[in-house]
Symmetry: C2
Subunit: 457 residues, 2 copies
């Protein structure tokens, strides 16, 4: 307890509800600013969980996430267990492969294990003398006026009331802290589900632990109304996810038997099936999960409570930005803590005012990218357009950064990226009718059109 006694008078004991990726990172940042932190996590300590722990899920770390990890000195050690993905590889029904780089030479997104990353961050949290962490602590109810929360210890099956002065709700898409805000007057809230679910599957490692598909890529099987994707693991396997309608002729509802699953996969993903020895078992053992976008506002209750991460803005996974956006929340809060010191009202207000439009833009971008991934990447005209955009970007680097790069390889606010991206798409709609091949880009009349468009920007 020495660390609490030594707390400087202007620092506080802060309460963090949620010890997932964003909660752990947040606790580290708050401690960095001299505060004592009490962190509660609903689940058991993932580091002590047996082999039956949650299925391993992969996340795509990109620049916004890396910057946030760098701020707490953890980036290098994470990079050691991340697999770089330089681009997308599309698999046609006929097994034909098409490659699309994500950015310029040397730019990649990184496949990391959610569980592995969380373990590493919890180690750091536990080593930090300013942070005290408790697992199996389920928040059942928050009393905003009394500034208390009822917490159930799920191991002991005992409830107790915990007081807080300042509570950070980082408890995910189904946040219990947000539920308390939702009962206050004038709290705007929406939860919107896609008509699609997802199921996790596995492409096994090749003999000797090598990769059966190109390791440094994100693989996509785009099929118009649905898709499968695969992200590489360190051990040679790939984590696959099938994004698929709940209902309809091709849907989860339509695949009821192992034979139906096999027939469907052999027809739609024939090059993947031989690499998925556990296909039918996994299909019926693993849950079908839903895809929700949560928006709300305000994210604060006075200067007592602040929501961050999925609790404030849960998004669908198609841009690989859910974790990155939550990590960027921590970067922004870190900057505000540095700027406003202990003026929590200023910190909380500016945080939500700055982040809300960006979170909304990212939510829109994530839904937009689903259509791109499941449908447009299979269209040669779309891929040609991406190549032309890349050429424009190379020729006019100060005037043009492709939307994907703005989101993934820059720190531009998401709302600006989305607005720029929509403007750029309009320009491409004007240019593409004049372009039938990559070579056309050099034609003088096309060059003149591009120059005129750039002149106007």
């Amino acid at each position: 307890m020495a660390e609490f006694a030594s707390t400087a008078p202007e620092t506080e004991t802060l309460t963090v509800m949620g010890g997932g990726l964003v909660g752990s990172l947040l606790a580290l940042y708050l401690a960095q600013h001299g505060h004592s932190v009490e962190m509660f996590e609903r689940r058991p300590d993932i580091r002590r969980a047996g082999p039956v722990e949650a299925r391993s899920i992969n996340l795509a770390l990109s620049d916004r996430g890396w910057r946030a990890l760098e701020g707490v000195g953890i980036a290098e050690s994470v990079r050691d267990v991340a697999v770089a993905m330089h681009g997308r590889i599309m698999h046609s029904v006929q097994g034909q492969l098409t490659y699309q780089p994500y950015g310029q030479e040397g730019q990649s997104i990184y496949s990391v294990s959610r569980a592995g990353l969380n373990r590493r961050m919890l180690d750091l949290v536990e080593q930090n003398p300013r942070i005290r962490v408790a697992f199996n602590q389920q928040c059942q109810r928050v009393d905003l006026r009394q500034q208390t929360m009822d917490v159930l210890d799920t191991e002991l099956n005992q409830s107790r009331t915990v007081s807080f002065r300042r509570l950070f709700g980082v408890d995910g898409a189904y946040s219990a802290v947000r539920a308390a805000l939702q009962r206050t007057d004038r709290f705007n809230y929406s939860q919107h589900y896609l008509d699609y679910g997802y199921k996790e599957l596995t492409i096994a490692a090749a003999p000797g632990g090598s990769w059966a598909l190109e390791k440094h890529a994100l693989h996509i099987w785009p099929r118009g109304q649905y898709m499968m994707i695969a992200l590489p693991n360190l051990d040679g396997s790939f984590n696959c996810t099938l994004f698929f309608p709940f209902e309809g002729p091709a849907s989860f509802a339509a695949l009821q038997t192992p034979a139906q699953v096999r027939a469907f996969f052999e027809q739609e993903f024939p090059d993947a099936v031989p690499l998925m020895p556990e296909l039918e078992t996994e299909f019926f053992d693993n849950p079908t999960s839903s895809l929700v976008t949560v928006r709300c506002y305000p994210w604060t209750y006075h200067d007592d409570v602040l929501l961050l991460g999925d609790a404030a803005h849960a998004i669908v996974p198609f841009y690989g930005q859910g974790m990155n956006a939550g990590f960027e929340d921590c970067t922004v809060l870190h900057e505000l803590l540095a700027r406003h010191g202990h003026d929590w009202n200023a910190i909380f207000q500016e945080f939500q005012q700055v982040r809300k439009p960006n979170a909304d833009a990212m939510a829109d971008l994530a839904v937009y990218n689903f259509e791109e991934m499941r449908d447009r990447v299979a269209d040669p005209r779309f891929l040609l357009q991406k190549k032309i955009e890349s050429k424009i970007s190379a020729q006019y680097p100060s005037k043009w950064l492709p939307l994907y790069s703005q989101v993934t390889f820059s720190h531009l606010p998401y709302a600006e990226a989305w607005a720029n991206g929509q403007q750029q798409e309009q320009i491409m709609q004007r240019l593409m009718p004049h372009i039938q091949s990559e070579e056309d880009y050099q034609r003088p009349e096309v060059q003149a059109l591009v120059a005129a468009e750039m002149e106007r920007r």
Copy 2:
């Protein structure tokens, strides 16, 4: 209990949570189809409440509401206590009055007291041998799987568990039944608040119980960013509502003292102030209420639970359609009960599929009409456009019904009305640049333009 014993084998005991206007009407319709009904209401019996009952609020009954009341034989007795409003009267800051009729000659909306209407309907409910009603029954929790709800008797302060086979959630904008659906997977939900609140005020009856303003009108003081309205009561008084921003230079937050309230009203509503003897007292005694739009889907849980009225689709009050939409829910359900008999799955599914797009359209229309009432009705060009529309409608009755009439004086599905209204607005945008006065409508070139537009419809 004889009535339950005599229930025909194909009928059921149905549970209705909520005994407000829509809940009472629903119970009457369900009983009409031979079912036994158990109705629970959270509040005390409004008929036994003392003089301190809820402030009297007026509602605008229009054609959809009347049809639903006719179906249970209550329309005529309600008409006796309703005040017809033939149009809007706008009050300028200078006290100038402008009249705009709502529809054709003989078409009106009707000001009725919410409490009075509810009392009348509860009398009918209680006289019905198939309906059993209990007051002071607060639904605390619905267990969808067990088909039970925990109900607190707020008089006895005792909780009990009530089983249901089929539950109708008619418990308003903050529905407890909906809260249970919200915890199921893939339940889409949003609650969105306007930045405006409202406050109820009173224009007193003139000496002798006469009306100090024109009785047969809805009065509006449109002031751009806010407005006051007044609806007539039977006793000569008017119920006023101030719709006003929560924050800002002219807002509830800015009016903190009786002197500030008086100064503001004297500046903005000078012709009303002398008629409001209790202005300052009411302003500070009456609550400032918020304005929410609630959307959700599905409205069902299997064939066990169905949401209706505000529980399914709470809207802001600016089109006077909240109650009418809830009553129309009952009309639609009544038709489906007649068509599908005891196939509850068919009834529930068709109900939500038919009503959801109409409820969404009505929610949009209600927000749209706020801008019209607080701002556009003060614009002479807008009023001219309404007059021209009325002339088009008279000349081409089969091709043109003004949007307001479609919503208020027809039974066209709201979604169709809204779509038609938007098309008609586009036509008016093309016509109005050619029209500077009412007389211009007869000019040959304008007549030709109108004829050409009608040709295309």
